[in-house]
């Protein structure tokens, strides 16, 4: 084969052609330089790796994990007795306990002058709930609209960013569905409604960002 400068690109893609390319490079400065650069990239690349000491990182992670573990461990009588109950039952017990504690606190501990404020901040009134549900419906309509625009672009792409976006949206959908299921049994809980609104906002923002990037 008569190797020419224009064959170099092909030779870099097809290893069988490299001996010919090297032979040609002996008499061609430009190709020699390009071949050298090609292999030099792989040679120096590992030196680009960033390495630095972080002695405080694992202790920080460990501390957060220990806190997570502590929060997840069975407490109280059930835990001490080694009882392994169904999680729904545990959640139910926790809810009953929380309500009992709230009732106790509201009845016996709260100063008499502040009941309205306390009630307003923790629980929604019928009127506020209607407004919250209206806002939620608006969010969902907007999200549905955005999803219809974004979906074709996202599902067709193998770009790592698109993959990350898809995973993030799936994560948000799953969280939204979890919180909605909880809200369905506790519609007047202001904190749950705030969490749900925040998730909707996050999903809306994510969809908008994807759309902006695609345009």
């Amino acid at each position: 084969m008569t190797f020419d400068c224009k064959d170099l690109e092909r030779a870099l893609a097809v290893p069988e052609l490299l001996p010919d390319a090297r032979e040609h490079a002996k008499v061609c400065d430009a190709c020699r330089r390009e071949l050298w650069l090609w292999s030099e990239m792989s040679t120096v690349a590992p030196d680009l790796r960033e390495d630095w000491e972080t002695p405080e990182l694992w202790p920080k992670i460990r501390q957060s994990l220990a806190a997570q573990q502590k929060a997840a461990k069975p407490h109280g009588l059930g835990g001490r007795l080694g009882w392994r109950g169904d999680w729904r039952m545990l959640a139910g017990l926790a809810a009953v306990l929380a309500i009992a504690v709230s009732v106790f606190v509201v009845t016996y501990s709260r100063p008499a002058a502040a009941p309205a404020v306390r009630q307003d901040s923790d629980f929604l009134t019928e009127q506020t709930l209607k407004e919250v549900e209206k806002t939620e419906a608006a969010y969902r309509a907007s999200i549905d609209k955005l999803s219809r625009l974004v979906q074709p672009k996202l599902s067709a792409s193998e770009n790592p960013v698109a993959i990350a976006d898809r995973e993030k949206l799936m994560g948000l959908d799953s969280e939204i569905s979890n919180v909605r299921a909880t809200v369905a049994h506790n519609k007047f809980n202001a904190q749950l409604q705030t969490d749900l609104a925040s998730l909707y906002r996050d999903k809306q923002d994510t969809l908008k960002e994807i759309l902006q990037r695609a345009q």
Binding site: E9, M41, V44, D51, L57
Partner: protein, 177 residues
């Protein structure tokens, strides 16, 4: 690379022990991967503090999700996928918070050492190509591992690496002409 890669058996052992609350097993996973995770996160975020935050967030997610892991795709690729997602999230948040425009990229001049020139040129190629170049050439992953991390076919990983090197060669050749 080989020293840091865990075998399938120890993957399973460590993650099982972690699920039982054995933090020393989880620390082994951390010790095997944290260095490379920081490097990848730094490459994506260009800030050590952000990179450390992303790695920390990734490990917390890994621990929380450990119960659901399927071992057919391997622990390592799963760990690095989670890390990339954390980096993209951090990057998005930082982009939203950024008040000042980013500084202009330095020019690739012919008197720069190749390593410095490559670092600058890497910032100018397609992000997909750059990511594959980084994982394969810098971090030492194999194409099968790069493919698993980025959830792309192995052939695509090879193709993107070739495109990355071709683009880098073009930029470096132009600067040295």
């Amino acid at each position: 690379m080989a020293a840091a890669r865990l075998t399938a058996r120890s993957d399973a052992d460590l993650i099982q022990a972690s699920k039982r609350g054995d933090l020393s097993a989880f620390e082994e996973i951390y010790a095997a991967h944290a260095g490379r995770m920081k490097s990848i996160a730094f490459h994506l975020l260009a800030d050590r503090a952000d990179a450390e935050d992303a790695v920390q967030e990734a490990f917390l997610k890994i621990y929380r999700a450990a119960g659901a892991i399927q071992f057919d795709s391997g622990l390592a690729s799963w760990i690095y996928r989670i890390l990339l997602n954390c980096c993209y999230d951090t990057g998005r948040k930082r982009k939203r918070q950024a008040e000042t425009p980013l500084a202009a990229e330095p020019a690739i001049t012919n008197n720069l050492p190749v390593q410095v020139a490559i670092r600058i040129a890497l910032g100018r190629i397609h992000p997909q190509y750059r990511m594959v170049f980084w994982l394969f050439e810098v971090e030492g992953f194999r194409h099968s591992e790069v493919a698993a991390i980025l959830e792309i076919p192995e052939g695509t990983s090879k193709k993107w690496l070739f495109e990355a090197k071709r683009e880098l060669k073009r930029l470096l050749t132009e600067s040295r002409a």
